[in-house]
């Protein structure tokens, strides 16, 4: 079997779009768990099993600050390289301008990284973020798409048009201040965190909204997944679900299967009949979710390597339907954070 991630003999050959891979290849080794469905959202857990993992730190342990508008500084006090997740947003209660990342990046152990291509997501707030461990968030899907399509170059205000459009689409005004949306829908976002639970051995998830895959997430380790689950479900996918509700987007239950009518009779044990009906409905719902995930898994993406630290590499992922980032340990994918383009859903 080909390995699209096999390292080039000459590092100079590594470019931003070095090859192609499928989503399934990025998720290699993981297996789907039992689907969780609440409202218009479904989460298909990805279980690690024997899948490769890597210790790329705990993003909650990073010391994060802004040096100036557009520069996020990450301090890695840990003993190993740390992965800053793709489209990370730093939302702080301080009177400071919240920022986000357009890509994923690596921070060498015991070092600080000043990432100068970060983006402001709070147009109306001034001030710099003081260094510390801050609550992590991940941008909503439409902002992730916009961030991925923009060059990773300095320009702190370059995401403002997308933030403005996102807010407007949820009735939160047209100011490019993501906090206005988050504050307005705080209760609803909490609800999303509440509804979905981590399961044993979970290392990622395929997220569906209205029956379509909106996100594919695979963490490098169980600990990393536990750290990123709340930021992803609350600020990214939960935010999109809430936005759709606010925008009046009709819910689509194509991958949901309600319990059908159960009739007794013929002396059959009614509870046995009921159990069979429940099993049937659950199995069909699982199948529909897995089928949607498999369809997404077959999609081909452009993958490149933007940065290396020893044996670890991180790069951007671009596709017709999904965008994001991935990471390699050696030649093996251990991280993927992909979100669907709006046109694809």
């Amino acid at each position: 079997m080909r390995n699209p991630f096999a390292r080039k003999a000459d590092p100079a050959e590594v470019t931003a779009a070095a090859g192609s891979a499928t989503v399934a290849e990025l998720l290699g080794g993981t297996a789907p768990g039992r689907v969780q469905s609440v409202g218009r959202m479904q989460v298909l857990p990805l279980l690690a099993g024997d899948a490769p993992t890597a210790d790329l730190g705990d993003p909650r342990e990073l010391a994060i600050s802004t040096d100036n508008y557009g520069t996020l500084r990450f301090g890695n006090g840990g003993p190993g390289v740390a992965l800053v997740p793709c489209h990370l947003a730093v939302i702080v209660p301080q009177a400071a301008q919240d920022h986000a990342m357009p890509r994923a990046t690596l921070v060498a152990p015991g070092t600080q990284l000043a990432y100068t291509a970060a983006m402001c997501v709070q147009q109306t707030q001034g001030g710099l973020i003081r260094s510390g461990r801050h609550r992590l968030a991940v941008l909503p899907p439409s902002l992730r798409e916009a961030a991925s399509d923009l060059p990773a170059a300095p320009g702190y205000n370059r995401l403002w048009p997308a933030v403005s459009a996102f807010n407007a689409s949820s009735g939160s005004g047209s100011v490019a201040d993501l906090i206005r949306f988050l504050a307005r829908f705080a209760t609803e976002l909490d609800q999303f965190v509440a509804e979905f639970e981590l399961v044993d051995d979970q290392i990622g998830a395929v997220v569906l909204l209205d029956g379509q895959v909106v996100g594919v997430e695979r963490a490098p380790s169980h600990a990393y997944w536990r750290a990123m689950w709340e930021p992803l479900i609350r600020f990214c996918y939960g935010a999109e679900a809430v936005r759709r509700e606010a925008a009046g987007v009709p819910a689509d239950a194509r991958t949901r299967v309600p319990l059908g009518p159960v009739s007794g009779g013929d002396g059959a044990d009614p509870l046995a009949l009921l159990a069979a009906a429940v099993r049937d409905a659950d199995t069909r719902e699982q199948s529909l979710a897995e089928a949607a995930a498999a369809e997404a898994g077959a999609r081909t993406l452009l993958v490149g390597v933007d940065q290396r630290h020893e044996d670890t590499a991180v790069g951007q992922v671009l596709g017709d339907t999904l965008v994001g980032a991935y990471a390699l340990a050696g030649d093996t994918p251990v991280y993927a954070s992909l979100t669907a383009r709006a046109a694809a859903v």
């Binding site: 969780q36 639970e197 009614p270």
Partner: protein
């Protein structure tokens, strides 16, 4: 039981209960009572897995407000009742004292005094601190504070244990000016200076009249200490407090936390284990359990009588230290006590127990929901004929503890439970369902269609602020909040409000203290045995 508030109170409360419940089970009045019982039984004032602390406090405040506005007399009776939780008593007393009493046959002041008299000392002082913070200062408040503090037999011990909180309460009652006058007069008295008639009059009016017949000289000395007078002091506890600043061992008569505080300020070179060694004989019941790990590390043996703790606390201890044979025995004894009060003898009960990931609780109260679930399971096992015990989620270890994990999939468990032919299915869980959401209700509805009539009720150890109460598994499943087993009576009343209002009325009267209680006294004693536990914050 014969209420201490008198027969007039009984009649008033009975009338109030009749009036409230007459509106019918779907009325706003009944929903208000239900919401109040939910927060009374389930509120902790802390964050949950799902909600922030602020959200929880708003939920709690709104429920108290609505209940007091619905029927203030009934509210006062409930708050003062023997089954009420300490937190609800504390919040209720604060609310009642914050606004003038209504004209009513119920002596509201007596109700407040009764509620406060049942509070633990930290909770009582938190209540007084909240009154000070919210500037609630009226004659009722002043009398209450001065009577309960200056008339307390343990004032000397309280003075060194809760020095700051007592000072805040007394300064609030007397006001800054009078507090200053008292400090000055008492300082002169302690130094042996003669007092004028006017000064003696002040002490008699402001201090001595509230001592309830106790030695006024002792009370005056404690007040001087609390108000910051320089001394010298003659009472052993007060003297030890001063001497311990230079000689830690001289403070051996002080409570553990007081001496530990002094060590931290004045004797940083002395290890904490020394304080444990000096005070181990005087540790409170709550402290004995809490310091076990510290004591073990310091090689200090602190005896602990496990039979004095409630089951939830014991399970939390077991999660931390292991489910030893001693703990298991204590849990079994507790289960027998609580189970006997369930009055479910002969009833075949099927239990559906939630062990999913969210039952791990919040950062501030880790594992509490699963501890409540395990304790309830034990009580049902002891007090009823449990014919089925179905867990959904969770992982049991070799000792029998269930560790939360996994998704919430109660439907298969429901069918399995119904298949055993129980008289009642009791679900214990947080009510969040995701495999998929709504399947439980769909399945129960289908079961009803197939002729299955078994009642299904839900006890929920987690308040959900976003629902305005507790999260239900479906409209057809009555649900009640339950944070500790002592609240089982509140939870039962909450459930009966939906399915049997007549029975609920009787239970509501019991909760309000005008009828015989269902639970054995030992259950309520659990609260008192942990008198000196770290206090929770009072709601605004």
């Amino acid at each position: 039981m014969t209420t201490t508030l008198g027969t007039a109170v009984s009649a008033t409360t009975s009338t109030a209960v009749e009036r409230v419940l007459a509106a019918g089970p779907d009325s706003a009045a009944v929903r208000t009572v239900a919401a109040f019982l939910d927060v009374a039984a389930g509120a902790t004032g802390r964050a949950t897995f799902y909600n922030t602390r602020d959200e929880q406090l708003v939920l709690e405040r709104d429920a108290h407000t609505a209940m007091s506005e619905l029927d203030r007399a009934l509210y006062a009776a409930l708050v003062a009742g023997p089954s009420m939780t300490d937190r609800a008593r504390q919040s209720g007393a604060l609310r009642l004292l914050s606004s003038p009493a209504e004209d009513s046959a119920l002596d509201e002041n007596a109700a407040v005094r009764r509620a406060v008299s049942q509070l633990t000392v930290p909770r009582m002082l938190n209540l007084y601190g909240a009154l000070a913070a919210e500037r609630v200062n009226n004659a009722r408040v002043r009398k209450l504070i001065l009577r309960t503090l200056l008339g307390a037999p343990a004032l000397e011990r309280w003075s060194v244990t809760y020095r700051r909180k007592l000072a805040v309460a007394l300064r609030h009652a007397w006001g800054a000016r009078m507090s200053g006058v008292l400090r000055s007069v008492l300082a002169r008295e302690l130094s042996g200076e003669p007092l004028t008639d006017k000064e003696r009059g002040i002490l008699a009016r402001e201090v001595d009249r509230w001592t309830g017949g106790r030695d006024a000289a002792v009370v005056r000395e404690c007040v001087a200490f609390l108000l910051g007078a320089p001394g010298p002091y003659t009472r052993p506890g007060l003297r030890a407090y001063g001497e311990a600043r230079t000689d830690l061992d001289a403070g051996r008569a002080l409570p553990y936390e007081t001496l530990e505080g002094l060590r931290g300020r004045f004797h940083r070179e002395v290890p904490s284990a020394r304080v444990l060694e000096l005070t181990k004989a005087r540790l409170t019941t709550g402290q004995r359990l809490a310091v076990q790990a510290t004591a073990e590390r310091a090689a200090v043996e602190v005896e602990v009588d496990l039979t004095r703790y409630d089951a939830v606390r014991l399970y939390l201890y077991a999660f931390e230290r292991g489910l030893t044979a001693d703990v298991a025995d204590a849990l079994a004894a507790r289960a027998r006590q609580v189970g006997a009060g369930l009055a479910l003898g002969g009833r075949r009960i099927a239990l559906l127990l939630d062990g999913s990931g969210s039952m791990a609780g919040s950062e501030t109260q880790p594992l509490r929901p699963i501890a409540v679930t395990l304790a309830l399971r034990d009580a049902f096992r002891a007090g009823a004929d449990v014919v089925a015990e179905e867990w959904f989620g969770g992982r049991a270890d070799a000792s029998g503890l269930v560790h939360p994990g996994g998704a919430t999939a109660p439907t298969e468990a429901l069918i399995a439970a119904l298949s055993t032919g129980p008289d009642l299915v009791v679900v214990v869980g947080d009510g969040y369902e995701n495999t998929p959401a709504g399947r439980f209700a769909e399945t129960l509805d289908a079961a009803r269609g197939l002729g299955v009539r078994t009642p299904v009720v839900h006890l929920n150890p987690v308040l959900a602020a976003e629902t305005g109460g507790v999260r239900a598994l479906g409209e057809a499943v009555p649900v009640a909040a339950l944070q500790r087993l002592e609240s089982l009576e509140l939870a039962a009343c909450r459930l009966l409000l939906e399915v049997d209002p007549e029975a609920a009325a009787g239970l509501l009267l019991r909760i309000a203290g005008v009828a015989e209680r269902a639970l054995p006294e030992t259950a309520a004693d659990d609260v008192r045995t942990t008198t000196d536990e770290a206090p929770e914050e009072v709601s605004p």
